[in-house]
């Protein structure tokens, strides 16, 4: 992209020639990404305190330390388990919801639609408190004492409630572009309802499923508020653990752990984008 070059052919990025717009763009980008870049750089800083902005030399010892921190790794493992489980269920539920809303007309459909997307707009703190109350009323707060992965049940359920509406929305948007004649053509050629779904509708939905899954996964992985309210005292997830570490003291170890998380997210996003591109050309 010739964003910062003189370019004589008119194109969609022409506005970048205007210096004011260019400044706004640069300032915006720096404001958004500088903290992340700084966080990554200072994960390699040979200093005792993470808040120290004085460069004391390059080291990777905080990565070793972070990976050696058993509690942190346990929290990380918990987070991944929760994310995977809640993503799988969210995408399944989201896909089914999306199909129902896209395909069928039924009484009170707008009400149902509104209810489904409610968790998107409800403040997280309200979701957190209500779920915590629900779990304690049901006597499920004790699940934290059971064995892995059942100790995560509460959190997984909580994560599904707020991430499946996102998955449903993304998948439904994808369904909107489906040509119903495809379905009829398949049926006309002898396919049963199930074959139509498997051979025609599902391949069309795939980019939506991948995008929905990615969204659900990242939402789950970095959720703090709802997790904080619904986890028992003995189950800790990655964001919750980081928070408690920050309260104790900010060390480059936290930077290192966060960097690992950022890289993981980037890789996942890259894979998802890549996958969608391949899929959409076919």
């Amino acid at each position: 992209m010739p964003l910062f070059q003189k370019n004589n052919t008119a194109g969609p990025f022409d506005y970048s020639r205007k210096w004011l717009l260019r400044m706004v763009f640069i300032v915006g980008t720096v404001f958004l990404y500088a903290p992340i870049v700084v966080l990554i750089i200072f994960s390699f800083n040979d200093s005792k305190r993470g808040g120290n902005i004085i460069w004391k030399g390059f080291t990777t010892k905080y990565y070793t330390k972070a990976f050696g921190n058993e509690e942190l790794m346990l929290a990380f493992g918990n987070s991944l388990t929760i994310a995977v489980a809640s993503t799988v269920i969210s995408v399944l539920l989201g896909a089914l919801t999306a199909i129902v809303l896209w395909r069928f007309r039924f009484p009170f459909k707008p009400v149902y639609e509104g209810l489904v997307s409610l968790p998107i707009v409800i403040p997280e703190i309200c979701m957190g408190v209500s779920l915590a109350m629900f779990f304690s009323q049901m006597g499920w707060m004790q699940t934290g004492d059971s064995h892995w992965p059942f100790n995560l049940t509460n959190i997984i359920i909580a994560h599904i409630t707020f991430s499946f509406p996102f998955a449903a929305m993304v998948i439904r948007t994808r369904l909107q572009s489906f040509n119903r004649e495809m379905e009829e053509a398949a049926k006309d050629l002898g396919a049963s309802e199930f074959r139509v779904f498997k051979d025609i509708l599902l391949p069309h939905m795939k980019p939506g499923l991948v995008a929905g899954a990615l969204l659900a996964f990242t939402l789950s992985l970095d959720d703090f508020v709802i997790t904080f309210f619904t986890s028992g005292p003995n189950t800790v997830t990655f964001p919750v653990k980081i928070y408690s570490m920050v309260r104790f003291s900010v060390t480059p170890e936290i930077n290192a752990a966060s960097t690992v998380l950022i890289i993981m997210t980037l890789v996942l996003t890259f894979i998802a984008l890549r996958y969608q591109r391949v899929d959409s050309t076919s």
Partner: protein
């Protein structure tokens, strides 16, 4: 006459408050190209969807080779369809698309291979077997859709507006090719179209539908020369119609007066029933096709039906021109005239009087509309 392959019997279809099909009965013969023709909203697509099984009629029945299949779902009918959007599966290559229907029928894979190859050869897509649909042109995608339906050897092939998405040149070529293809495979084709020229050029017989009602079923020639009413006459080609004001029949002749016209005398065997009904005379029309209308600067003799007017727009068509003759009261009629005559006529600006005339026996006496 052979038994009909498809029998549409008293089929009606009600959508909420709209009666899309109103007691339609048609017999379609094996091996013919049959066109369902009508303006948009006439019910032709609904009828096609009833035949394919995507709509269940509100009443009436549908027979295939004498067997009732009104309630049979589309995937159980030995009928295949080429959709208007072609509906080629975007995530499968050409070969897989064509093989899909056979795979659903659990045809052995080596047989699928040979049949797919044959079908692709029939539509001249042998070299495109491994292509993905987005690497094909619109015309090629349509061929894929055709091959995909034909490979199943259906009893009847349905085509929904098969040429509407193609550009003019390709449309003419595809028209011929479809007819040739039909002759090769011998499968009955039912084509839905709103384009009368398309229907006339391709079909052995045409059903004209309007507002859910069947108006007429006939061969293209018959539809053109003996339309059942003013609507069909106007829909199949152009026609100049004049409302009848009074009539008098005797002795194998009928003399009529109509708006703008001098008395027209037609030879008839018997007085048409629609004139004898209670309806006013103006429910009948006298009509003449533009190609029967001649234009001249001098008044024609008494043996012709003639009209005086001024020349309006002249549209050049290549091999001939379509001239508009404006009558004194503001209405106009059209005539097909040859290019040399068009050149010799005074320009429209001069407002010079000209005469349009034709022979009385070229006129059709029709009811305005049959219900």
């Amino acid at each position: 006459m052979s038994d009909p392959i498809v029998s549409i019997r008293n089929i009606s279809k009600q959508f909420d408050s709209v009666l899309a099909l109103d007691d339609v009965s048609i017999d379609i013969r094996p091996g013919e190209i049959f066109a369902l023709l009508g303006p948009s909203g006439c019910g032709k697509s609904t009828l096609l969807r009833v035949i394919s099984g995507f709509e269940t009629p509100t009443s009436g029945e549908l027979l295939l080779d004498g067997e009732d299949m009104t309630q049979l779902p589309p995937n159980k009918r030995p009928i295949n369809m080429v959709f208007q959007s072609y509906a080629v599966f975007p995530h499968m290559n050409v070969e897989t698309n064509v093989a899909y229907g056979l795979k659903m029928d659990k045809v052995p894979s080596d047989e699928i291979k040979t049949r797919v190859a044959t079908a692709l050869a029939q539509v001249h897509l042998e070299d495109f077997a491994k292509r993905m649909p987005d690497q094909l042109s619109g015309g090629q995608r349509q061929r894929v859709a055709l091959a995909r339906a034909l490979v199943k050897k259906p009893r009847v092939l349905l085509l929904d507006e098969p040429l509407s998405a193609l550009d003019a040149k390709l449309r003419d070529a595809m028209r011929l090719e479809l007819v040739k293809l039909q002759e090769t495979v011998g499968i009955t084709f039912i084509i839905v179209t709103h384009d009368q020229a398309e229907a006339m050029a391709m079909a052995d017989r045409i059903a004209v539908l309007e507002s859910g009602k069947l108006r007429q079923v006939a061969t293209p020639e018959e539809l053109y020369s003996h339309p059942i009413d003013g609507f069909v006459a106007d829909f199949i080609g152009n026609i100049n119609s004049f409302a009848v004001s009074s009539w008098h029949a005797d002795n194998g002749q009928i003399s009529l007066t109509a708006e703008h016209l001098n008395t027209v005398v037609l030879a008839i065997d018997e007085t048409p029933a629609f004139l004898l009904s209670e309806a006013p005379a103006s429910d009948a029309v006298l009509a003449v096709r533009p190609e029967h209308v001649t234009v001249s600067l001098t008044q024609p003799d008494e043996n012709h039906v003639s009209l005086r007017g001024t020349l309006g727009d002249v549209a050049y068509q290549g091999q001939h021109c379509i001239a508009e003759i404006r009558l004194d009261n503001g209405t106009s009629i059209s005539a097909i005239i040859d290019n040399a005559l068009a050149k010799s006529l005074p320009s429209a600006l001069e407002q010079a009087p000209i005469w349009a005339f034709w022979q009385a026996n070229n006129m059709l006496l029709l009811p305005r509309k049959v219900d």
